[in-house]
């Protein structure tokens, strides 16, 4: 209906946003009527979300006109921010920023470069930045999950780890079962989402391509490519993070660092 009134795409999108906001406000009033008062939170969230996403759109409009090299600079910045976020999740582990940065940069970076080289990702900024950021976000999630789980495993197995050290094991051997458990745990959600792809959910890229009028099989295959890439990058990022952290929690004299133990 809206497209009968608005010909200009920006005006049409603004009108669509207004309808979506009205829908959310309607939900807010129904909730308030039912005694669930979230008016302030909902209004702030709507406003923030709108301003943030429009600002990103405006920035992307500017960036998309820049040189291709700019894409890689932006992705590098995203990796640093992602590592900072993963570091928070790994609070209490030594050297968490460096470990997460290596995990994300080596895992995410190698997949982005390989896939760009192979022609799966178009090096044009309009595709490199959104797909690259998706890969980085997923490597961040995988690294965070792996580090969080690794920390839990280490803290609940301090006795076993120190027993292994006391028997003359090298630190990597002493923590190997826990690093493996952490990587496995971080991959399970990725494997599950690949397994249920198309049955339980139709994910974002495919939805977007279908909305943009692409042929469904083409959209489906590209979505599969993305999901397989996400699985690969998650595995790489969590494996690298867990391996590096397995080294970082020991002193040069092969002792478990005190802040892990206590």
């Amino acid at each position: 209906m809206l497209n009968q009134f608005f010909q200009d795409p920006i005006q049409l999108a603004t009108a669509q946003a207004a309808v979506a906001i009205a829908l959310a406000l309607g939900m807010m009033f129904i909730a308030a009527w039912a005694g669930i008062h979230l008016e302030k939170e909902i209004l702030i969230a709507l406003l923030r979300g709108l301003v943030q996403v429009v600002a990103v759109g405006a920035v992307l409009l500017f960036i998309f006109q820049g040189p291709e090299l700019l894409g890689f600079v932006i992705l590098a910045g995203m990796m640093a921010l992602a590592a900072k976020t993963a570091e928070k999740r790994a609070e209490g582990l030594p050297d968490a920023f460096r470990v997460a940065l290596f995990g994300i940069a080596l895992g995410g970076g190698s997949v982005i470069l390989l896939m760009t080289w192979a022609g799966v990702i178009d090096p044009k900024l309009t595709s490199l930045i959104p797909i690259g950021s998706m890969i980085i976000a997923n490597s961040m999630n995988a690294a965070s999950l792996a580090l969080d789980r690794f920390q839990g495993e280490i803290r609940s197995h301090v006795g076993h780890i120190e027993t292994a050290l006391a028997l003359g094991a090298d630190p990597k051997t002493a923590v190997q079962p826990y690093a493996r458990a952490a990587v496995r745990a971080s991959l399970i959600p990725r494997i599950d989402s690949l397994r249920t792809l198309g049955i339980v959910w139709i994910p974002g890229v495919m939805t977007g391509m279908l909305l943009a009028g692409n042929q469904p099989v083409h959209a489906a295959l590209y979505q599969f490519v993305i999901m397989a890439m996400i699985l690969a990058v998650s595995g790489l990022a969590s494996l690298i993070s867990a391996l590096l952290m397995a080294g970082a929690i020991f002193t040069p004299a092969e002792q478990l660092k005190i802040n892990i133990r206590v």
């Binding site: 006795g159 050290l165 006391a166 028997l167 003359g168 094991a169 079962p177 005190i258």
Partner: protein, 214 residues
């Protein structure tokens, strides 16, 4: 092997949990350390196989500064038995094999059986560790430590988590093994009667310091 410490100290969060400890244990001697909880007994043991780093001072094995011995080699020579067995998941034999395997040596079935019969667990090799009693688990931990051929044995309240009958049996077993192998021992306990039964020498530790000898 002779074990000595010189002003061995560990400071944690501004407090000396082990405070200038000077200790000399002769080859084959059993030194028991008693003292209240929090006195620093376990912290001292952890310094002796370098699971923790001394803040000051050092230890000597047969006159060699232990910081010059690679940590894995040091820990093979200075074995440790803790209060809890901390057995690794798998079979009893897997646990006994663990130490030598770290140096690339695979124990034969015969060697494993010999170690197990040494601790009174003949025929237990294929048993899964989650099916052992507390006393049996601690015996496996002893066999696992002996598999490394240690020259010094550090014992951190090895019988305190066991019931009375298992406690007496494990104590007898340790006593026998220590004498037969002439192991140099530092044994930490809060049980003064046990200390008197087992020791060549009893030392008292309080506030991180070794207080007196008897």
């Amino acid at each position: 092997m002779k074990l000595e410490t010189r002003d061995l100290t560990r400071v944690h969060e501004g407090r000396a949990i082990v405070d200038h400890v000077n200790l000399a244990v002769a080859t084959g001697e059993v030194v028991m350390i008693v003292g209240p909880s929090g006195a620093g007994k376990s912290s001292l043991l952890r310094l002796l196989n370098r699971l923790d780093e001394p803040t000051a001072g050092t230890a000597f094995l047969d006159g060699v500064d232990y910081r010059r011995i690679p940590p894995r080699e040091l820990r093979r020579r200075v074995g440790m038995i803790m209060q809890t067995a901390h057995l690794f998941p798998g079979s009893v034999a897997d646990n006994v094999r663990f130490g030598p395997r770290q140096r690339g040596r695979d124990l034969s079935e015969v060697e494993i059986e010999r170690l197990l019969s040494r601790v009174g667990l003949s025929g237990f090799g294929d048993r899964m560790v989650d099916r052992l009693s507390g006393g049996e688990a601690q015996r496996v931990a002893i066999a696992r430590a002996l598999a490394n051929d240690p020259e010094v044995l550090l014992l951190d309240e090895p019988t305190s988590a066991l019931d009375d009958s298992a406690k007496a049996a494990v104590e007898d077993l340790l006593s026998e093994i220590i004498r037969e192998e002439s192991l140099t021992c530092v044994w930490v306990t809060h049980d003064t009667a046990q200390a008197k039964r087992m020791a060549d020498r009893v030392l008292v530790m309080q506030n991180g310091r070794l207080q007196m000898t008897s």
